[in-house]
Symmetry: C2
Subunit: 203 residues, 2 copies
Protein backbone atom coordinates (compact mmCIF):
# COMPACT_ATOMS: atom_id res chain seq x y z
CA UNK A 1 0.00 0.00 0.00
CA UNK A 2 1.19 3.49 -0.86
CA UNK A 3 1.89 5.60 2.24
CA UNK A 4 1.30 9.37 2.11
CA UNK A 5 5.07 9.92 2.35
CA UNK A 6 5.72 7.54 -0.53
CA UNK A 7 2.99 9.16 -2.60
CA UNK A 8 4.48 12.60 -2.01
CA UNK A 9 7.90 11.41 -3.10
CA UNK A 10 6.43 9.89 -6.29
CA UNK A 11 4.64 13.13 -7.06
CA UNK A 12 7.90 15.07 -6.68
CA UNK A 13 9.77 12.61 -8.90
CA UNK A 14 7.12 12.78 -11.65
CA UNK A 15 7.03 16.59 -11.50
CA UNK A 16 10.83 16.73 -11.80
CA UNK A 17 10.80 14.35 -14.75
CA UNK A 18 8.03 16.21 -16.55
CA UNK A 19 9.72 19.55 -15.90
CA UNK A 20 12.99 18.42 -17.48
CA UNK A 21 11.13 17.54 -20.70
CA UNK A 22 9.09 20.75 -20.79
CA UNK A 23 12.17 22.91 -20.09
CA UNK A 24 14.09 21.21 -22.91
CA UNK A 25 11.23 21.92 -25.35
CA UNK A 26 10.24 25.44 -24.34
CA UNK A 27 13.15 26.79 -22.31
CA UNK A 28 13.16 27.72 -18.63
CA UNK A 29 11.34 31.01 -19.22
CA UNK A 30 8.95 29.58 -21.83
CA UNK A 31 7.78 26.70 -19.60
CA UNK A 32 4.99 27.59 -17.17
CA UNK A 33 4.04 25.79 -13.96
CA UNK A 34 0.81 24.85 -15.79
CA UNK A 35 2.82 23.24 -18.64
CA UNK A 36 4.81 21.18 -16.13
CA UNK A 37 1.69 20.07 -14.24
CA UNK A 38 -0.06 19.08 -17.45
CA UNK A 39 2.94 17.00 -18.60
CA UNK A 40 3.26 15.25 -15.22
CA UNK A 41 -0.50 14.78 -14.83
CA UNK A 42 -0.94 16.82 -11.64
CA UNK A 43 -2.79 19.95 -10.51
CA UNK A 44 -1.18 23.26 -9.64
CA UNK A 45 -2.03 22.40 -6.03
CA UNK A 46 0.20 19.33 -6.20
CA UNK A 47 3.01 21.46 -7.65
CA UNK A 48 2.83 24.13 -4.98
CA UNK A 49 2.59 21.64 -2.14
CA UNK A 50 5.99 20.34 -3.35
CA UNK A 51 7.80 23.42 -4.65
CA UNK A 52 7.48 27.10 -3.80
CA UNK A 53 8.40 28.14 -7.35
CA UNK A 54 9.84 27.06 -10.70
CA UNK A 55 13.28 28.12 -9.39
CA UNK A 56 12.92 25.79 -6.42
CA UNK A 57 11.99 22.91 -8.69
CA UNK A 58 15.11 23.46 -10.86
CA UNK A 59 17.32 23.59 -7.78
CA UNK A 60 15.72 20.32 -6.59
CA UNK A 61 16.56 18.80 -9.98
CA UNK A 62 20.21 19.89 -9.60
CA UNK A 63 20.34 18.61 -6.03
CA UNK A 64 18.98 15.19 -6.98
CA UNK A 65 21.54 14.87 -9.78
CA UNK A 66 24.54 15.97 -7.72
CA UNK A 67 23.49 13.76 -4.78
CA UNK A 68 23.30 10.73 -7.07
CA UNK A 69 26.65 11.60 -8.63
CA UNK A 70 28.40 11.97 -5.25
CA UNK A 71 26.94 8.63 -4.11
CA UNK A 72 28.29 6.93 -7.24
CA UNK A 73 31.71 8.48 -6.73
CA UNK A 74 31.82 7.36 -3.09
CA UNK A 75 31.02 3.83 -4.25
CA UNK A 76 34.18 3.82 -6.42
CA UNK A 77 36.46 4.85 -3.58
CA UNK A 78 37.15 1.54 -1.81
CA UNK A 79 38.65 0.10 -4.99
CA UNK A 80 40.33 3.14 -6.56
CA UNK A 81 41.29 5.50 -3.73
CA UNK A 82 45.01 4.83 -4.31
CA UNK A 83 44.87 5.13 -8.12
CA UNK A 84 44.10 8.82 -8.68
CA UNK A 85 44.41 8.63 -12.51
CA UNK A 86 42.05 5.68 -12.91
CA UNK A 87 39.63 7.18 -10.41
CA UNK A 88 39.61 10.48 -12.31
CA UNK A 89 38.75 8.65 -15.55
CA UNK A 90 35.94 6.81 -13.78
CA UNK A 91 34.58 10.05 -12.28
CA UNK A 92 34.65 11.72 -15.71
CA UNK A 93 32.63 8.77 -17.03
CA UNK A 94 30.06 9.30 -14.27
CA UNK A 95 29.81 13.02 -15.14
CA UNK A 96 28.93 12.03 -18.72
CA UNK A 97 26.19 9.71 -17.50
CA UNK A 98 24.93 11.78 -14.55
CA UNK A 99 21.84 12.86 -16.45
CA UNK A 100 19.66 10.46 -18.44
CA UNK A 101 19.65 12.96 -21.32
CA UNK A 102 22.73 15.22 -21.66
CA UNK A 103 21.02 17.59 -24.09
CA UNK A 104 18.02 18.23 -21.81
CA UNK A 105 20.36 18.53 -18.86
CA UNK A 106 22.65 21.00 -20.61
CA UNK A 107 19.72 23.14 -21.73
CA UNK A 108 18.16 23.53 -18.28
CA UNK A 109 21.39 23.87 -16.32
CA UNK A 110 22.75 26.50 -18.73
CA UNK A 111 19.44 28.38 -18.87
CA UNK A 112 19.15 28.48 -15.11
CA UNK A 113 22.73 29.79 -14.88
CA UNK A 114 21.82 32.59 -17.30
CA UNK A 115 18.70 33.30 -15.23
CA UNK A 116 20.92 33.51 -12.12
CA UNK A 117 23.19 36.03 -13.88
CA UNK A 118 20.15 38.34 -14.12
CA UNK A 119 18.48 37.51 -10.78
CA UNK A 120 20.51 37.92 -7.55
CA UNK A 121 18.19 35.67 -5.50
CA UNK A 122 18.52 32.81 -7.99
CA UNK A 123 22.29 33.45 -8.11
CA UNK A 124 22.57 33.07 -4.35
CA UNK A 125 20.61 29.80 -4.30
CA UNK A 126 22.54 28.40 -7.27
CA UNK A 127 25.91 29.45 -5.83
CA UNK A 128 25.11 27.82 -2.49
CA UNK A 129 24.26 24.59 -4.22
CA UNK A 130 27.26 24.65 -6.55
CA UNK A 131 29.54 25.42 -3.59
CA UNK A 132 28.24 22.37 -1.69
CA UNK A 133 28.90 20.13 -4.69
CA UNK A 134 32.35 21.65 -5.25
CA UNK A 135 33.23 21.27 -1.55
CA UNK A 136 32.29 17.58 -1.59
CA UNK A 137 34.48 16.99 -4.64
CA UNK A 138 37.31 19.03 -3.14
CA UNK A 139 37.26 16.92 0.05
CA UNK A 140 37.39 13.79 -2.09
CA UNK A 141 40.39 15.07 -4.05
CA UNK A 142 42.17 15.93 -0.79
CA UNK A 143 41.37 12.53 0.69
CA UNK A 144 42.58 10.68 -2.40
CA UNK A 145 45.81 12.59 -2.84
CA UNK A 146 46.57 11.95 0.83
CA UNK A 147 45.80 8.21 0.52
CA UNK A 148 48.08 8.07 -2.52
CA UNK A 149 50.94 9.92 -0.82
CA UNK A 150 50.63 12.88 -3.19
CA UNK A 151 50.65 16.65 -2.73
CA UNK A 152 49.05 18.98 -5.28
CA UNK A 153 50.89 22.12 -6.41
CA UNK A 154 47.51 23.92 -6.74
CA UNK A 155 44.59 24.09 -4.27
CA UNK A 156 42.36 21.01 -4.71
CA UNK A 157 39.37 23.32 -5.19
CA UNK A 158 41.02 24.99 -8.18
CA UNK A 159 41.48 21.60 -9.84
CA UNK A 160 37.82 20.77 -9.14
CA UNK A 161 36.80 24.11 -10.72
CA UNK A 162 38.86 23.19 -13.79
CA UNK A 163 37.16 19.79 -14.09
CA UNK A 164 33.74 21.49 -13.94
CA UNK A 165 34.76 24.20 -16.45
CA UNK A 166 36.15 21.72 -18.98
CA UNK A 167 33.13 19.45 -18.55
CA UNK A 168 30.60 22.26 -19.06
CA UNK A 169 32.54 23.95 -21.89
CA UNK A 170 33.18 20.69 -23.73
CA UNK A 171 29.56 19.54 -23.38
CA UNK A 172 28.42 22.63 -25.24
CA UNK A 173 30.82 21.87 -28.12
CA UNK A 174 29.85 18.18 -28.22
CA UNK A 175 26.14 18.95 -28.33
CA UNK A 176 26.68 21.40 -31.22
CA UNK A 177 28.91 18.99 -33.17
CA UNK A 178 28.46 15.47 -31.78
CA UNK A 179 30.32 13.81 -34.67
CA UNK A 180 33.30 16.16 -34.49
CA UNK A 181 33.73 16.08 -30.71
CA UNK A 182 32.57 12.90 -28.95
CA UNK A 183 31.31 13.62 -25.40
CA UNK A 184 34.06 13.30 -22.83
CA UNK A 185 36.95 13.44 -25.33
CA UNK A 186 38.52 16.68 -24.09
CA UNK A 187 38.06 15.72 -20.44
CA UNK A 188 39.60 12.25 -20.82
CA UNK A 189 42.47 13.53 -22.97
CA UNK A 190 43.57 16.52 -20.95
CA UNK A 191 42.46 16.28 -17.31
CA UNK A 192 44.61 13.24 -16.37
CA UNK A 193 47.55 15.18 -17.89
CA UNK A 194 46.81 18.16 -15.64
CA UNK A 195 46.43 15.93 -12.58
CA UNK A 196 49.84 14.43 -13.27
CA UNK A 197 51.40 17.86 -13.85
CA UNK A 198 50.17 19.17 -10.47
CA UNK A 199 50.96 16.01 -8.43
CA UNK A 200 54.18 15.56 -6.42
CA UNK A 201 55.09 12.75 -4.00
CA UNK A 202 54.44 14.02 -0.46
CA UNK A 203 57.84 12.97 0.84
CA UNK B 1 31.69 64.34 -45.49
CA UNK B 2 29.98 61.06 -44.71
CA UNK B 3 29.84 58.75 -47.73
CA UNK B 4 26.87 56.37 -48.13
CA UNK B 5 29.20 53.41 -47.51
CA UNK B 6 30.53 55.00 -44.31
CA UNK B 7 27.00 55.84 -43.16
CA UNK B 8 25.90 52.24 -43.70
CA UNK B 9 28.83 50.95 -41.71
CA UNK B 10 28.03 53.35 -38.84
CA UNK B 11 24.42 52.21 -38.84
CA UNK B 12 25.50 48.56 -38.59
CA UNK B 13 27.92 49.35 -35.77
CA UNK B 14 25.25 51.23 -33.79
CA UNK B 15 22.69 48.49 -34.32
CA UNK B 16 25.21 45.88 -33.12
CA UNK B 17 26.04 47.94 -30.05
CA UNK B 18 22.38 48.57 -29.17
CA UNK B 19 21.55 44.91 -29.70
CA UNK B 20 24.22 43.74 -27.27
CA UNK B 21 22.69 45.92 -24.53
CA UNK B 22 19.10 44.89 -25.24
CA UNK B 23 20.03 41.18 -25.36
CA UNK B 24 21.82 41.46 -22.02
CA UNK B 25 18.74 43.03 -20.44
CA UNK B 26 15.93 40.99 -21.99
CA UNK B 27 17.61 37.88 -23.36
CA UNK B 28 17.89 36.82 -26.99
CA UNK B 29 14.27 35.64 -27.17
CA UNK B 30 12.91 38.53 -25.11
CA UNK B 31 14.55 41.23 -27.27
CA UNK B 32 12.55 42.18 -30.38
CA UNK B 33 13.87 43.85 -33.54
CA UNK B 34 11.75 46.87 -32.46
CA UNK B 35 13.54 47.01 -29.09
CA UNK B 36 16.91 46.97 -30.83
CA UNK B 37 15.91 49.69 -33.32
CA UNK B 38 14.54 51.87 -30.54
CA UNK B 39 17.76 51.54 -28.51
CA UNK B 40 19.99 52.29 -31.52
CA UNK B 41 17.74 55.10 -32.77
CA UNK B 42 16.86 53.58 -36.16
CA UNK B 43 13.75 52.40 -38.00
CA UNK B 44 12.90 48.77 -38.75
CA UNK B 45 13.77 49.64 -42.36
CA UNK B 46 17.34 50.45 -41.35
CA UNK B 47 17.55 47.16 -39.47
CA UNK B 48 16.31 45.04 -42.35
CA UNK B 49 18.50 46.79 -44.90
CA UNK B 50 21.47 45.63 -42.79
CA UNK B 51 20.40 42.25 -41.38
CA UNK B 52 17.93 39.66 -42.66
CA UNK B 53 17.03 38.58 -39.09
CA UNK B 54 17.93 38.75 -35.40
CA UNK B 55 19.97 35.55 -35.93
CA UNK B 56 21.99 37.25 -38.67
CA UNK B 57 22.70 40.22 -36.41
CA UNK B 58 24.01 37.97 -33.63
CA UNK B 59 26.24 36.11 -36.07
CA UNK B 60 27.57 39.48 -37.30
CA UNK B 61 28.34 40.38 -33.65
CA UNK B 62 30.28 37.13 -33.24
CA UNK B 63 32.09 37.66 -36.54
CA UNK B 64 33.17 41.20 -35.62
CA UNK B 65 34.49 40.01 -32.25
CA UNK B 66 36.40 37.02 -33.59
CA UNK B 67 37.84 39.08 -36.50
CA UNK B 68 39.14 41.67 -34.04
CA UNK B 69 40.56 38.96 -31.80
CA UNK B 70 42.38 37.21 -34.65
CA UNK B 71 43.84 40.55 -35.79
CA UNK B 72 45.13 41.25 -32.28
CA UNK B 73 46.67 37.79 -32.06
CA UNK B 74 48.39 38.20 -35.45
CA UNK B 75 49.87 41.47 -34.19
CA UNK B 76 51.57 39.59 -31.33
CA UNK B 77 53.20 37.04 -33.59
CA UNK B 78 56.33 38.89 -34.81
CA UNK B 79 57.54 39.25 -31.25
CA UNK B 80 56.34 36.06 -29.60
CA UNK B 81 56.16 33.38 -32.30
CA UNK B 82 59.10 31.49 -30.80
CA UNK B 83 57.88 31.73 -27.19
CA UNK B 84 54.74 29.54 -27.17
CA UNK B 85 54.16 29.83 -23.39
CA UNK B 86 54.34 33.63 -23.30
CA UNK B 87 52.24 33.89 -26.45
CA UNK B 88 49.58 31.61 -24.93
CA UNK B 89 49.39 33.84 -21.85
CA UNK B 90 49.04 36.91 -24.08
CA UNK B 91 46.30 35.25 -26.17
CA UNK B 92 44.41 34.29 -23.00
CA UNK B 93 44.60 37.93 -21.95
CA UNK B 94 43.10 38.97 -25.29
CA UNK B 95 40.26 36.45 -24.86
CA UNK B 96 39.41 38.10 -21.54
CA UNK B 97 39.30 41.52 -23.15
CA UNK B 98 37.77 40.53 -26.50
CA UNK B 99 34.39 41.96 -25.55
CA UNK B 100 33.95 45.38 -23.92
CA UNK B 101 31.58 43.79 -21.39
CA UNK B 102 32.19 40.12 -20.53
CA UNK B 103 28.83 39.70 -18.84
CA UNK B 104 26.83 40.98 -21.83
CA UNK B 105 29.00 38.94 -24.14
CA UNK B 106 28.58 35.75 -22.12
CA UNK B 107 24.80 36.19 -21.97
CA UNK B 108 24.29 36.60 -25.71
CA UNK B 109 26.85 34.03 -26.85
CA UNK B 110 25.47 31.42 -24.43
CA UNK B 111 21.86 32.22 -25.30
CA UNK B 112 22.51 31.98 -29.00
CA UNK B 113 24.23 28.61 -28.46
CA UNK B 114 21.14 27.36 -26.62
CA UNK B 115 18.97 28.70 -29.45
CA UNK B 116 21.17 26.77 -31.93
CA UNK B 117 20.69 23.56 -29.92
CA UNK B 118 16.95 23.86 -30.65
CA UNK B 119 17.12 25.27 -34.20
CA UNK B 120 19.07 23.30 -36.85
CA UNK B 121 19.43 26.31 -39.19
CA UNK B 122 20.96 28.48 -36.43
CA UNK B 123 23.17 25.52 -35.44
CA UNK B 124 24.55 25.24 -38.97
CA UNK B 125 25.34 28.97 -39.19
CA UNK B 126 26.91 29.03 -35.71
CA UNK B 127 28.95 25.88 -36.36
CA UNK B 128 30.27 27.29 -39.64
CA UNK B 129 31.40 30.43 -37.88
CA UNK B 130 32.89 28.65 -34.89
CA UNK B 131 34.74 26.27 -37.23
CA UNK B 132 36.29 29.23 -39.11
CA UNK B 133 37.50 30.75 -35.84
CA UNK B 134 38.81 27.40 -34.59
CA UNK B 135 40.59 26.74 -37.90
CA UNK B 136 42.34 30.12 -37.75
CA UNK B 137 43.54 29.42 -34.21
CA UNK B 138 44.58 25.87 -35.16
CA UNK B 139 46.70 27.17 -38.04
CA UNK B 140 48.33 29.64 -35.65
CA UNK B 141 49.15 26.89 -33.15
CA UNK B 142 50.65 24.76 -35.93
CA UNK B 143 52.68 27.69 -37.23
CA UNK B 144 53.99 28.57 -33.77
CA UNK B 145 54.91 25.04 -32.72
CA UNK B 146 56.81 24.66 -36.01
CA UNK B 147 58.62 27.99 -35.56
CA UNK B 148 59.58 26.90 -32.05
CA UNK B 149 60.82 23.47 -33.16
CA UNK B 150 58.08 21.68 -31.23
CA UNK B 151 55.71 18.83 -32.04
CA UNK B 152 52.42 18.39 -30.19
CA UNK B 153 51.37 14.97 -28.94
CA UNK B 154 47.71 15.85 -29.64
CA UNK B 155 46.12 17.42 -32.74
CA UNK B 156 46.46 21.23 -32.59
CA UNK B 157 42.69 21.53 -33.08
CA UNK B 158 42.03 19.48 -29.95
CA UNK B 159 44.19 21.85 -27.91
CA UNK B 160 42.30 24.82 -29.40
CA UNK B 161 39.00 23.16 -28.46
CA UNK B 162 40.31 22.77 -24.90
CA UNK B 163 41.27 26.47 -24.72
CA UNK B 164 37.75 27.45 -25.87
CA UNK B 165 36.07 24.98 -23.47
CA UNK B 166 38.07 26.16 -20.44
CA UNK B 167 37.53 29.80 -21.37
CA UNK B 168 33.75 29.42 -21.75
CA UNK B 169 33.32 27.16 -18.73
CA UNK B 170 35.48 29.34 -16.48
CA UNK B 171 33.75 32.55 -17.60
CA UNK B 172 30.44 31.18 -16.39
CA UNK B 173 31.95 30.43 -12.94
CA UNK B 174 33.66 33.84 -12.74
CA UNK B 175 30.48 35.71 -13.60
CA UNK B 176 28.54 33.80 -10.94
CA UNK B 177 31.23 34.32 -8.27
CA UNK B 178 33.59 37.10 -9.39
CA UNK B 179 35.28 37.39 -5.99
CA UNK B 180 35.88 33.66 -5.65
CA UNK B 181 37.18 33.09 -9.16
CA UNK B 182 38.89 36.06 -10.85
CA UNK B 183 38.41 36.02 -14.64
CA UNK B 184 41.21 34.19 -16.42
CA UNK B 185 42.54 32.42 -13.32
CA UNK B 186 41.82 28.85 -14.43
CA UNK B 187 43.03 29.51 -17.99
CA UNK B 188 46.31 31.13 -16.90
CA UNK B 189 46.98 28.48 -14.24
CA UNK B 190 46.28 25.33 -16.21
CA UNK B 191 46.55 25.91 -19.97
CA UNK B 192 50.31 26.64 -20.04
CA UNK B 193 50.75 23.40 -18.04
CA UNK B 194 48.81 21.47 -20.67
CA UNK B 195 50.77 23.09 -23.51
CA UNK B 196 53.99 22.02 -21.86
CA UNK B 197 52.69 18.49 -21.24
CA UNK B 198 51.79 18.01 -24.92
CA UNK B 199 54.95 19.64 -26.40
CA UNK B 200 58.00 17.67 -27.49
CA UNK B 201 61.12 18.91 -29.34
CA UNK B 202 60.69 18.07 -33.04
CA UNK B 203 64.10 16.46 -33.35
Amino acid sequence: METPKRRRSNTRARLLEGALEVFAERGFHGASVEDICERAGFTRGAFYSNFASKDELVLALFQATTDRLLEQIEALLPELANQPGTLLDAVLGLLDEAAPDQRQWHLISTEFTLHALRDPEAAQALNTQRAMFRDSLTKLVEQITETSGLTLSVPAEQFVRLVIAVHEGARSQSLLEPRKLPPGELEHTFLPMVLEAVSRPSR
